[in-house]
Structure formats: structure tokens, C-alpha cells
């Protein structure tokens, strides 16, 4: 009994801290999911009201960028999942390599995204210029900047998180549980993109 108590008294023993983190991350991801659920609701409402304008808007985006980014993120998700598996089986080095690969792919995603943003800006379509469009298109472009922008911020947050965890794994002997929690976050960010991809790049009027 005293031992058990020492455990609770010191806040939390190591094993328990892992389970707290896992639960905390799950609850946090539920919260994040609700944030994006609100945005998808806005998109649905807009698309029902302005089907033509939204289809035109999709054709206006760079389909190859959205598609390439989908492959990039899915591959990065595979990398981070494998990193957890490797760390669990004890190969710290290959786990770190896989985390690095994940982060490089995340940076590549941001690079491609930035290229598309740059392309929109060059066309005079920046986030400040949303109001210049016709009504339906303005709504589409507003949602485009809102949803891809919020998603990109989440990718950046995910990269920072992964960088921190990689540092812990490399220099502080952190276990696979911490990496797994970071991986969950990365998977959610990836999963959200899988829904953004068709809504902003595929469901256009022209099939190419």
C-alpha cells in the first residue's frame, strides 16, 4: 500500500504518465476534429447554395499541387507509423531516420502549399482580395484560405511537436509512447487533408 501511495503521491509514475498523455491527446484530437467539422459544415452549406461557383473555384486551384500533397502527407503518415513500430522494437536509430523523413515530407508539403499560395497571390487572389470576387466565388476562396490555412498551421504545429519528440527520443531516451502520441496528431492532420483534397481540388466541373 505504501508503494502504491508513493506512486500517486509523486504525481504520476512513468507508466501512468504515458497513459495520461495518450488520453489527453485523444481528447484534444476530438476537440480538433470539432474545429474542422465546423469548417466542413460551412463548406457544405456554401456548396449547396452556390454549386456552380464552387465547381468553378475548384477548377481554379492547382489540382496537381493538391494531389501531390496528398501523396506527400500519406507517405509521411506511413513513415511516422513505421517510426513508432521501429522504436517499439528497440531500433532507435531507424526510428529517428523515419521521424526525420516524416518531417522532411511535412516541409515538402508546406513548400508545395506555399507554391500554390504564391501562385494565387501572383494572380491577385490573395486572402485580402477575397472580397473582390463574385459572391459564390468569394465564399469559396474565403473557405479555401480558411481551411487550407488552418490546416497548414496544424502541419507547422505538428512539425514542431515532432521535432521536440525527436529530440527527446535522441537525447532523453523517450519511449515509443511519446512518439506514438505525436504520431496520432500527425495522422489527424493527414486525415483532415484527405477530406480537403477532394473538396478543393477534385470536385470541379471539368474532369481532367
Amino acid at each position: 500500500m505504501t508503494e502504491l501511495f508513493a506512486e500517486t503521491q509523486d504525481g504520476v509514475a512513468l507508466a501512468e504518465r504515458d497513459s495520461l498523455r495518450r488520453l489527453g491527446m485523444m481528447v484534444f484530437l476530438a476537440s480538433e476534429a470539432m474545429l474542422f467539422a465546423g469548417m466542413f459544415t460551412l463548406y457544405a452549406a456554401g456548396r449547396i447554395r452556390h454549386p456552380q461557383a464552387f465547381a468553378d473555384g475548384v477548377d481554379h486551384n492547382l489540382r496537381w499541387v493538391g494531389t501531390a500533397n496528398t501523396y506527400v502527407l500519406l507517405t509521411s503518415s506511413w513513415c511516422i507509423a513505421m517510426a513508432v513500430v521501429r522504436l517499439r522494437s528497440g531500433s532507435r536509430r531507424s526510428a529517428l531516420l523515419l521521424v526525420s523523413a516524416t518531417m522532411l515530407l511535412g516541409l515538402l508539403f508546406l513548400g508545395l502549399k506555399g507554391y500554390e499560395y504564391q501562385w494565387h497571390l501572383a494572380e491577385g487572389d490573395g486572402p485580402m482580395a477575397v472580397a473582390r470576387h463574385d459572391p459564390g466565388i468569394a465564399l469559396f476562396m474565403g473557405l479555401y484560405w480558411l481551411m487550407t490555412g488552418t490546416h497548414a498551421l496544424h502541419v507547422i504545429a505538428g512539425l514542431i511537436f515532432l521535432g521536440y519528440v525527436a529530440w527527446r527520443v535522441a537525447y532523453r531516451q523517450a519511449n515509443d509512447r511519446l512518439l506514438e502520441v505525436a504520431a496520432w496528431y500527425w495522422h489527424l492532420v493527414d486525415l483532415i487533408w484527405v477530406f480537403i483534397w477532394p473538396l478543393f481540388y477534385l470536385l470541379g466541373r471539368v474532369s481532367r
Binding site: 502504491l4 509523486d10 495520461l20 489527453g24 476537440s31 474545429l35 465546423g38 452556390h50 472580397a131 465564399l139
Partner: protein, 539 residues
């Protein structure tokens, strides 16, 4: 009864005196100190919001201009709502009392993520700072609901207020995550879900709402800023947007938010009723499940705010019926509390007096809610003072009385000192009288057709307005007396001993005030938190 706190804990000092530097408070990760800091901050917010309320009531002493002009009036009622909802009522009980009590009730040393807990306090301060900084920019005149399209075009300082509330939402989510994980993972071995004190159920249900609904509020507020600052037009019909969509998103959070305010207060009432009736609750599970029921059903009732917004009649009908379900769950609670008192050995203390006030105001206000959830009646009352009176009955009559009851009840736990019963009861009487005199006339005014948020009114409404204003003076003097007495007792009150009320609940099974680590020995789960059938070995 045990001797004064410091002696009873065999060496270890209470959390209040263990460290006394400023930084030991400001950089603490102790849930008890963070809870007290939240209580202090929300108390200041309540004072500020209360002063604004008094000015608003004084303005309504006469039909036309009394003390402020019309533009100032609009900004003041917005300020009152924003402060009271987001700076006071949403965080006060969960982040204040909840923070203090949750780990104590679970026999834990702290919450699951102590540093996140401290961060949530500073994020709250940051959000409060941003929100209130708008006062220096002249305030805003949209009302606390920030309805579009007006909020997107108002020339006043919409952006800082809305951005501040956005930041407050982040703090709220942090607390929610912390409390959910604490409840799940930090119960000691042997404590099942149905062994927890009922207050924990209230906080847990609240946290679910905070975590799942607040992001949607954040989204809608962010869009208001984008619409206001960059003319995106997401909610502007001229640009293809839809203003009613804002109402949907806003109320998806803000209706459940009223349950964020009331569920923790209901948790307080459950604890106080059991302790001062010296009985187990009539049905533990009825109270626990109805808390969850209110939290979950609360997610599906937002449409009753849109009865006159052009929503389809079928949707309104469905939302109306689902809204009535909340009344069923609430009634289950009220009946259970009364059944708990029945044949109990009731001690008429100050917390118990507030329980009776709560029951009266909550049932009265709840009945008007039942009536309003019916579409046909709501069309008549929509946007009148009837609504104002209704939600003040529930929120002030519910949350504020619950908070004051809880503060009297747990003052010995927090400070080791007893509140003054005589002053407490006088204050309670003032609060009840003041409250009824302030808000009953507002029901009558609303029913007679006086709209809310109007600067002016016809002379025939003056008598009721004067009565209401006089009531607000009584109410505020009652509240000031209650809090003044509590503050005095916190520093100068008589020593309480570890369990002055003879409660069986778990938080009383350690010293009052507790040591920094909460418990010297593992929490003994026998007898149960409401088992008054046996002699308490901990007394």
C-alpha cells in the same frame, strides 16, 4: 473534531503557508493555488460586470436619457454580457472550485497536467486582457452574441473583443482536457465511476462540452474577425454568405455553454444537499446520468435560438422537443435533491439557504424555459425582456447562487476557517429578495412587449423598470455582503478543523486546508462519499 490545520498534519505545512513568495503563487503548478487564482480573477470580473449592470439599471430609471447616452448604453450592455458570460460564469465554478476540488475528491495529488493547468490560467488572463483592452478603444456595441451581419460592419472595436473571447476559449479547452483526463485516469484503485463525489460528475459533464463545443465557437469568432477586418463576407449575404449560418455555429457552442455554467452549480448543490441532510442521495445514478444527459442533449438544442430566423418549421419543432428534454433531466435532479432532503436531518446553514434559493429560482426560471422552448410562445417573447429575465433566473439564480453556496461550504476546506453564519444568512435573504424584485418585473415587461437591448421605452413601462432597478441595488448589496463576509472569514474567521460540517465526501478526509500534496495517507474509500449510515472513522 481535529485541532487547527497546521497541527493536524504532523509536520507538513498546508498549501497556503508551505511557500509564501509571490513567485510560489504565480509559477505554481498546485491545482489548489491555481483554483484560488481563478476564483480571484473571476471575482474581479464579476465586480466589473456587476458595476456595468448597475449603470444599465440606473439608465432605465427613466424612459429617455438618465445617465448615459444611447451609444454608450449599447456598449455597456455588450460589455456586461461579455464579462459575465466569458470572464465570470464559464470559468468561475469549473476552473475555480473545480480545479481546487477535483483532485481532492479523487484522492489524487494534482490534476493530470499541472503545467497545462497553470498555462490555462495565464491564457485566461491574456484573453481577459485582450477583451477588456477593447474598453480603451471605446468598446463594442454588438451585444455579447456578436450577431452578423452587424458585427462584421460595426465601426466599434469588434475585433479585440472577439479575439479575446477566442483566446478565453483556448483556456476553457485546456481546463476541459485536464479535467476529463484527471477524472478518467487519476481515480485511486478501488474507486469506480459511481463511487466518485457527485460534483465530479458535474465537472466531467461540463468538460465534455468545453472540449467539443468551444472549437466551433472559436471558428465562428475567427470568421467574424475575418469578415470585419478583411470583408471576407462568409456571413454577408451580399457576398454569397449567410448570416444565419453564424447563428447556427454560435449557438452550437453558446447554448451548451449555459450548461457549462449550470452543471457545475448543480454539482455543488448535490454535495451541499447530501452533507446538510446527512443522507445519501435519493438516487446517485439519477444525478450522475442526468448530468451527462444534459451535456449530450445540450448539443442538439441550439436551434431554439433560431425560431424566428427563417429556420424551417420542422427543424424548429424538432429543436423545441429536444430542448424540452433538458427540462426532464433537470426535473430529475430537482426531485432527487428534494427526495434526498426528505426525512433527512437538515442543518439550515448558509450553503443550505442558497440551495433553497437555487431550487426556487431554478425551478421558476426553468418553467419559463419550458414555455419558451415551445415555438408558438417563443415567437411572442423573442427578443423581449422576458428572455432577459429567463436567462438571468437560470444563470444568476443558478450559477451565482451555486457558486456562493459552494464558497461558503468549501471555505473551511480552502482556508481552514469558518464563514459567519449570521451575516451569511442575512446576505442570502438580500440576494433572494433583490433577485426576485429585479427580475420578476422584467418577465412582466417582456410579456407586455418591452424589447431587450433598447435604450428607450414608453412611459407606461416606467413603474416596473423602477422596481427592477431598486431590486438590483438590493441584489448587489446582498452579493457584496456575501463576498465581503467570505473574504473577511477567509482571513479572520474562526478555525474550522478538518471537517466542520461532518461530511462524508472524500475531499474532507484530509486536513483543511490540505497540505501541498493533498493527502498524508492514501485516501480511505470506506465509508463511501455519501454513506451516513455508519460512524465516520475520519472524524
Amino acid at each position: 473534531m481535529t485541532p487547527p490545520a497546521q497541527d493536524s498534519t504532523a509536520g507538513a505545512k498546508s498549501y497556503l503557508v508551505a511557500e509564501t513568495t509571490w513567485s510560489s503563487w504565480l509559477m505554481t503548478s498546485d491545482h489548489k493555488r491555481i483554483g484560488i487564482m481563478f476564483l480571484a480573477a473571476t471575482f474581479l470580473a464579476m465586480l466589473l460586470g456587476g458595476v456595468v449592470a448597475l449603470i444599465l439599471r440606473i439608465e432605465h430609471l427613466t424612459p429617455h436619457h438618465t445617465v448615459v447616452d444611447a451609444m454608450t448604453y449599447n456598449r455597456l450592455f455588450t460589455l456586461h454580457g461579455v464579462i459575465m458570460v466569458w470572464l465570470f460564469m464559464i470559468p468561475a465554478i469549473p476552473a475555480g472550485l473545480g480545479n481546487f476540488l477535483l483532485p481532492l475528491m479523487l484522492g489524487a495529488r494534482d490534476v493530470a497536467f499541472p503545467r497545462l493547468n497553470l498555462l490555462s490560467f495565464y491564457v485566461y488572463l491574456l484573453g481577459a486582457g485582450i477583451t477588456l483592452s477593447a474598453m480603451l478603444m471605446g468598446g463594442t456595441d454588438t451585444g455579447w452574441t456578436f450577431y452578423t451581419p452587424y458585427s462584421a460592419t460595426s465601426p466599434t472595436a469588434v475585433a479585440p473583443v472577439v479575439a479575446g473571447v477566442f483566446v478565453l476559449g483556448i483556456s476553457s479547452i485546456m481546463s476541459g482536457i485536464n479535467f476529463i483526463v484527471t477524472t478518467h485516469a487519476l481515480r485511486p484503485r478501488g474507486m469506480g465511476w459511481f463511487d466518485m463525489p457527485l460534483f465530479v460528475w458535474g465537472i466531467y459533464a461540463t468538460s465534455i462540452i468545453q472540449v467539443l463545443a468551444t472549437p466551433v465557437l472559436g471558428l465562428s469568432l475567427a470568421l467574424v474577425v475575418l469578415d470585419h477586418s478583411f470583408s471576407w463576407g462568409i456571413f454577408d449575404p451580399a457576398r454569397g454568405g449567410d448570416p444565419v449560418l453564424f447563428e447556427h455555429l454560435f449557438w452550437f457552442y453558446s447554448h451548451p455553454a449555459v450548461y457549462i455554467m449550470i452543471l457545475p452549480a448543480m454539482g455543488v448543490i448535490s454535495e451541499v444537499v447530501c452533507t446538510f441532510s446527512r443522507k445519501n442521495p435519493l438516487s446517485y445514478k439519477a444525478i450522475a446520468y442526468s448530468s451527462l444527459g444534459i451535456a449530450l442533449v445540450g448539443f442538439l438544442t441550439w436551434g431554439h435560438h433560431l425560431f424566428v430566423a427563417g429556420q424551417s418549421a420542422y427543424a424548429s419543432g424538432a429543436f423545441g422537443i429536444i430542448s424540452e428534454l433538458v427540462a426532464v433531466f433537470s426535473a430529475i435532479k430537482v426531485v432527487t435533491w428534494l427526495g434526498t432532503m426528505y426525512r433527512g436531518s437538515i442543518a439550515f446553514t448558509t450553503p443550505m439557504a442558497y440551495v433553497f434559493i437555487f431550487l426556487f429560482l431554478f425551478v421558476f426560471g426553468g418553467m419559463t424555459g419550458v414555455a419558451q422552448a415551445a415555438m408558438s410562445l417563443d415567437v411572442h417573447w423573442h427578443d423581449t425582456y422576458f428572455i432577459v429575465a429567463h436567462f438571468h433566473f437560470i444563470m444568476v439564480g443558478g450559477t451565482l447562487t451555486g457558486l456562493i453556496a459552494g464558497l461558503h461550504y468549501w471555505l473551511p476546506k480552502i482556508t481552514g476557517r469558518l464563514p459567519n453564519e449570521r451575516v451569511g444568512l442575512i446576505a442570502a435573504a438580500l440576494v433572494l429578495m433583490g433577485f426576485v424584485i429585479t427580475f420578476v418585473p422584467q418577465f412582466l415587461l417582456g410579456n407586455a412587449g418591452m424589447p431587450r437591448r433598447y435604450y428607450d421605452y414608453p412611459v407606461r413601462f416606467q413603474a416596473l423598470n423602477v422596481i427592477s432597478t431598486v431590486g438590483s441595488w438590493l441584489l448587489s448589496s446582498g452579493i457584496l455582503l456575501a463576498f465581503g463576509s467570505l473574504l473577511h472569514a477567509a482571513f479572520r474567521g474562526p478555525r474550522a478543523g478538518s471537517n466542520p460540517w461532518g461530511s462524508r465526501s472524500f475531499e474532507w478526509r484530509t486536513a483543511s486546508p490540505p497540505i501541498t500534496a493533498n493527502f498524508e495517507r492514501p485516501l480511505d474509500l470506506v465509508p463511501g462519499a455519501y454513506d451516513y449510515s455508519v460512524v465516520n472513522p475520519h472524524d
